[in-house]
């Protein structure tokens, strides 16, 4: 959105250092977080978190630790643990890479 902003406009961008929260500033002009509206997601783009370079990103193993509570990649009804049937599904017919001993 470009200026002028409506009187009741609140910045919808995510800001914060430890956790994301709404910016809610009335204007991005002079904003140290989005730098005059140039940064779309100031929370994710912060570069002052020392060793935590991808602070807002979690690999699947984070969710696997939670057991059957939550899995972001599959429908909610799917069990988190692989079953024997799942193992069968993973085998692609015709793929003999594992059994072909001609290559080193």
């Amino acid at each position: 959105m470009n200026p002028p902003f409506p009187p009741d406009w609140k910045c919808p961008r995510r800001v914060g250092f430890l956790f994301p929260h709404a910016c809610l500033r009335a204007t991005p002009l002079g904003c140290p977080d989005c730098q005059n509206g140039q940064i779309e997601d100031p929370y994710a783009m912060r570069s002052d978190r020392f060793g935590y370079s991808r602070f807002d990103y979690y690999t699947d193993d984070y969710f696997l630790d939670l057991g059957s509570v939550y899995d972001p990649g599959v429908p909610d009804t799917a069990p988190i643990d692989f079953s024997e049937a799942d193992g069968t599904d993973l085998v692609t017919p015709g793929n003999e890479f594992e059994t072909d001993m001609t290559e080193s």
Binding site: L18, Y52, Y70
Partner: protein, 284 residues
């Protein structure tokens, strides 16, 4: 909020209960004051050294003894004037830098009008922890004490109450060596104790995440997590940090909070998803 300069001067202490936004301005003012006092002390010390030096030369000549007396008096007056600029505040300006860094971290996640209780001591009280003989050394003695010089408590805009304290832990060992000389060795470490009282209705129960949190916390070289306690309402973490600059201590504090919050944020996502699942009409 104006800084109580008189209290800073006499007790070497800054305490406030003020909005987070006002803290940075106060600390900036104290840091400028500390720098000015440090420079004033240096100027007076140089003046005293010069006066005493020239005074000694005057006495050595034999004829200028009166001038030497005046210069010695002047040197003494310079040293006396140094008392107007407390050494502890003047030499510990880096504690302000640490306080500013932490205040900035809190300000990024607190409402501007949120109140913070802040304490920064330049002259901290020594609290003796233990004192006794040092085994295996002639005339060996060991003393442990701590100085609590920093504490902060503030409410963040997610409903979490963040609090942190810094204690300097000292270990002093004194003994007589084989050549009969008396030796004293002092070692210092800083203890960072952090507590986050989180709202369980947003973050759920973090107790099952304890091990993951322990793995997640990264600290700079020279710092290590010593204790982590996770309950259904609070996360308490304690880290030891080797003596370093204010910057390295501030970095350790920030990284500690980031490590805890990385798991809090994960738990919040999970809780939000669980709520969506249990809502009527939500995903089945």
């Amino acid at each position: 909020m104006a800084v109580d300069v008189n209290r800073l001067h006499t007790e070497g202490l800054y305490e406030s209960r003020a909005p987070v936004a006002a803290l940075t301005a106060d600390l900036e003012q104290i840091q400028q004051l500390a720098t000015a006092w440090h420079q004033a002390r240096r100027r007076l010390a140089k003046g005293a050294a010069l006066a005493f030096g020239v005074g000694v030369i005057c006495f050595a000549t034999g004829t200028l003894w009166f001038l030497g007396t005046v210069l010695f008096g002047l040197g003494g007056w310079f040293l006396y004037r140094m008392k107007n600029y407390p050494k502890t505040v003047a030499n510990r300006g880096e504690r302000c830098a640490f306080g500013k860094s932490l205040a900035a971290m809190i300000a990024a996640d607190a409402a501007p009008e949120a109140m913070a209780v802040f304490r920064l001591a330049f002259t901290a009280q020594q609290e003796t922890l233990s004192e006794g003989p040092l085994a295996g050394r002639k005339n060996g003695k060991e003393k442990l004490w701590k100085e609590s010089w920093f504490s902060v408590e503030a409410g963040l805009c997610d409903g979490t109450t963040f609090s942190e304290t810094i204690d300097d832990l000292f270990r002093q060992r004194s003994f007589t060596n084989a050549r009969g000389k008396s030796k004293t060795k002092t070692r210092k470490q800083s203890i960072i104790a952090m507590r986050l009282d989180y709202p369980s209705e947003i973050y759920g129960d973090l107790t099952p995440f304890r091990d993951r949190m322990q793995k997640e916390i990264q600290l700079p070289p020279g710092s290590a997590v010593r204790a982590l306690e996770v309950s259904g309402k609070a996360v308490k973490v304690k880290a030891l940090s080797e003596p370093g600059t204010a910057e390295s201590l501030a970095q350790a504090s920030s990284m500690l909070a980031l490590g805890v919050y990385r798991i809090l944020n994960l738990s919040r996502q999970v809780e939000a998803r669980k709520r969506a699942q249990t809502k009527p009409g939500g995903p089945q």
